[in-house]
Symmetry: C3
């Protein structure tokens, strides 16, 4: 077994501890509590008003649940990769929210050179985390924890630049982040996946689900689906705008479910539903309505967007993903192109159209620039990041160990099969006693 390269015993602990210690030092220099008073020398769109702190706290929790339960369990669909999916999701998210707070905060320092942590900044930190987790989906099963930590550092840094450009320089609308999170995260991850392409992974025997792993994934799907209105409304203006963002997302998602189910049945063998579509395409409505969420597009406008997103996403899984894998060398484990990529672009375009139609103050040209900027940073940044991740000493798993927890995790033996076959009882004494 290739223990020489993939043994994480030194490189992973050293990297993780070093990163955390650096982060703690940076926090000691830059980060202070929010004391409720104004310190902003320049435009900070944060708001530490305690009157609105509580609803934001509730929203923060919803976003938190999406990040840690939603993304984490959505990726447990693989038959032998559940520990990594939910476990590495926790690791990357826990680091990303610290790093994201720094990378976003550095663009919005208060007059005294400090970053004041309030609920708004914590939500934004969760947002930057989402970007990384989307990209994680594209490379799931094919990368080591060390590679993923490196991706996290670079992606969040680049995300911070693009987000600053889109929100502050271009002044574009993207309240639900169709462009700056979903499209960015997807194409960043796809660029990484393209650079890391390995032909031998095609039709890998472990790149599939089993019955219960698909049920675990549905925990992720349903939590994402339920709390997406909070995601898209989290940084909307409180009051009518925020309620509009909730309403639009709610109905876009509902319409998306119907179209995703219908198309799944239409394109599958004997009209059967496919769990991959249900787990993912039912969420495309939340992605696609993101940019327009706080625009006056009408509930039926939101439903149309969701309806189309569900169709595009399901068709993408069925017809486009296989082509990307076989012709373009893009192996997209979770199909993030279908859930976040195309719906993210759809959301960006819908935003351009809606702004052009006067549904929200803004410039359609700036909206288009924001979409282009997000795609450009994602593709270039992802390609560079992929090249760095491809360096041979980060412990990338060999082909035959991909999509398999046991290369990086202590995995208990599956008693159901083995034990009953062998009738020899070797329990794995995990708990020390």
């Amino acid at each position: 077994m290739p223990a020489y390269a993939t043994n994480m015993r030194l490189k992973f602990p050293i990297l993780a501890l070093t990163l955390e210690i650096i982060t703690i030092i940076l926090f000691s220099v830059f980060v202070v509590y929010d004391d409720g008073e104004k310190h902003d020398g320049h435009g900070d769109h944060g708001n530490s008003n305690t009157v609105i702190m509580y609803p934001m706290t509730s929203t923060k929790h919803d976003v938190h649940v999406m990040i840690f339960i939603g993304f984490g369990f959505l990726m447990t669909f693989l038959k032998r990769y559940g520990f990594s999916s939910v476990g590495l999701n926790l690791l990357l998210a826990a680091f990303a929210l610290q790093w994201g707070l720094l990378m976003q905060g550095l663009w919005h320092l208060d007059a005294d050179g400090k970053i004041r942590v309030d609920v708004f900044k914590m939500i934004n930190a969760d947002f930057s985390t989402a970007t990384v987790l989307i990209s994680f989906g594209a490379v799931l099963g094919k990368t080591s924890p060390v590679q993923l930590l490196i991706m996290t550092i670079l992606e969040i840094t680049i995300f911070g630049i693009n987000e600053h450009l889109v929100a502050n320089v271009l002044g574009a609308n993207d309240v639900g982040a169709s462009m700056i999170i979903h499209a960015f995260g997807a194409y960043f991850g796809l660029a990484v996946a393209r650079v890391l392409y390995r032909p031998a992974l095609r039709d890998h025997e472990n790149n599939g689900s089993v019955y219960h792993s698909d049920l675990f994934a549905m925990i992720g799907t349903v939590f994402l689906w339920m709390f997406w209105p909070s995601f898209n409304s989290a940084i909307a203006n409180p009051g009518a705008d925020q309620l509009m963002a909730v309403t639009n997302t709610y109905f876009s998602l509902a319409a998306c479910v119907l179209s995703a189910y219908a198309i799944s049945s239409l394109v599958e063998h004997k009209g059967k539903l496919d769990m991959v579509h249900i787990q993912n395409a039912t969420l495309a409505g939340g992605v696609a309505v993101g940019t327009c969420a706080d625009m006056n597009i009408g509930p039926f406008g939101a439903m149309l967007i969701g309806f189309v997103a569900g169709i595009i996403s399901t068709l993408g899984f069925k017809f486009l993903s296989p082509i990307l894998a076989s012709h373009l060398g893009i192996q997209d484990t979770c199909g993030v192109h279908n859930l976040h990529g195309m719906p993210g672009i759809l959301g960006g375009i819908a935003g351009i159209v809606a702004v052009a139609m006067g549904k929200k103050n803004g410039s359609a040209a700036m909206q288009a620039c924001a979409l282009a900027s997000s795609l450009g940073f994602a593709l270039v940044g992802g390609a560079i990041t992929g090249l760095i991740m491809k360096l041979p000493f980060w412990g990338q798993p060999p082909d035959q160990n991909c999509f398999d927890d046991s290369i990086y995790w202590e995995v208990p033996e599956e008693e159901e099969a083995e034990e009953s076959l062998a009738h020899g009882e070797h329990s794995t004494n995990k708990a020390e006693a």
Copy 2:
């Protein structure tokens, strides 16, 4: 294989897409955002005041979690029907909340003929959804997605009529909806199940659980249990009434757990606990205290109701359900009669008594009429709906394919058992390399 009748490839997509397109058109005509101003020509018990929007948003999330996670996972207890349970739950709920918003809204149009979507209306839409999901439990495993969509349309329409009658015409109290949701949904579903009765389904080999499916179901149980206080208090008057509803439900549920566990042990083989009782009867206290939740019955009064509900529900599972199945031809897959039916009636009766004792303003006679109306609409509406569902072209599964996902879903092979048996031992190579 009976592909002729159960193939969903055309009938399901056409129905789903048609329903969604009709819904979008109806939304474009009737539904607008709530702008926080008053447009109500007549008595709307909604409230778009932004001061109370935030706590309602939090409550809405809790109800949402109950609908999508709670009901969805509660029904995953069947060994081979988890995809359908959580997946069709999502499909039906996503359609039902759109349809419910229309069907309830049409009774409360604003002066300009519009339905203004606010958080209150979204909660009510979730409520109508609950009714369908309860009935779904009675027919779980024996119906096609097409049949279920038809049931959803009809049931929500009838629910809207009964709800209008109970709340607006009779003026009855039913804050936690023991009568209009729980009893209605249960007896509607039981009437459908009676019409669809099939003797061959008795002792069906797939109508049972496996170890991990019972654990998935407990996810549903616990989320329902935790958030039930929000369900029962969601439309209570803010302030003391709402806190009373939370308090009553909280303690009713707590007392119900103790009695359900005790009776489960008392009636089972060697005093063992039965997962079916634990998954369901522990929730009966939430159902039974619903009508009285905002009445001044005292915490111990709520506990007494919960205590009794836990006993009745457990005994129902043990003794009554087998009789219903064998003597009355009512095959109640999830035992909704024990969780929602009898506790719902108990709740209605408790409401009559409490109003008669002056615990809340109202008329005991109107309370009794509300209970009778809910049962009547449920039984008649359910029977008619069942007859429509029984038409031979909706793709109902043949007896031998009931309680089995694989008739409507692509199901991955169970490698753990099959593969390792077939190929000797390479499959569980998951353990330590």
Copy 3:
């Protein structure tokens, strides 16, 4: 089969029903609704102000999720003990929150001799529940439901005394309850475990996990991780103090994840990660920052505490737990010493240091007394409770049936393994049809 002693058929139902009936009677005497007015003759730190009721309601829900989903699923890691973990967790918690409300309320009666239930008191009831569930982790798999109910009564009573002493007599700070819940619950449970020591349980074949049971446990871990900021801030002063408690806990937990993963990889075979560490040690930062959560220690101070806690906890699982089991006769099934015990003491010490450094008003000596009191009551109370639980008529499971649901639960046959081996289909017809 040892049906003679472990048959719960009479002793469990009688105990459960009796306890619930006594509780209902006590509620009828003492407990009334909170009506929003002041009735406090003496110092009650409760607050029934409806302005702050809503955020507290949200916090209460988070704590509720931690208690019922978090603790419940965290303990499902054992391969054959999932029903008991999540099921008995529900039973004990449902009883404990009723009993806890009484035991805590008796120390804070209003002038008219009543306990007024408000959201604050419900949170405190959940808190006392947490203590029992921590101790449950130490004795998981080795005790009967009857023994556990007895433990619940005694532990909550003793907890109420210590909490009153620490908070009201000593006036010590312990906002996140590192001392009075975590250290107390852990050492109470360890004392019980020591008294119930059984040498034959060493290397028990069922004391281990399987793949999917570890994934169920991660549901618990992630929900605990996400909502811990609510736990530590629930009873903090609203406003800046509460935001500080949220912020400190949030970053302590994030830093803790990195150090726990790093140390897990460093100490394990070939640098692999161990699920036991990930499920537990990632949470140690929440425990350890508890006492200091509302103190002005700076975000980086909180991160340092979390960083150290993650290291100590992981090392404890790896090196200390085996020694406790083999040399001291302390079999700690869930490793609560590593998750709650040592991090709780660390939290207490951090509190002493922080108060001594003036990070919060208070007396370092009183903080030290609070820690000593919590440990003293835990060890003495746990030992006495253990002796009572050791009496031979409570139905303790025989050695060979430990860590196995089937002694107290109807368990469906595992079709995956058995059925396919035997090719005989005897499904367990649990649902009546």
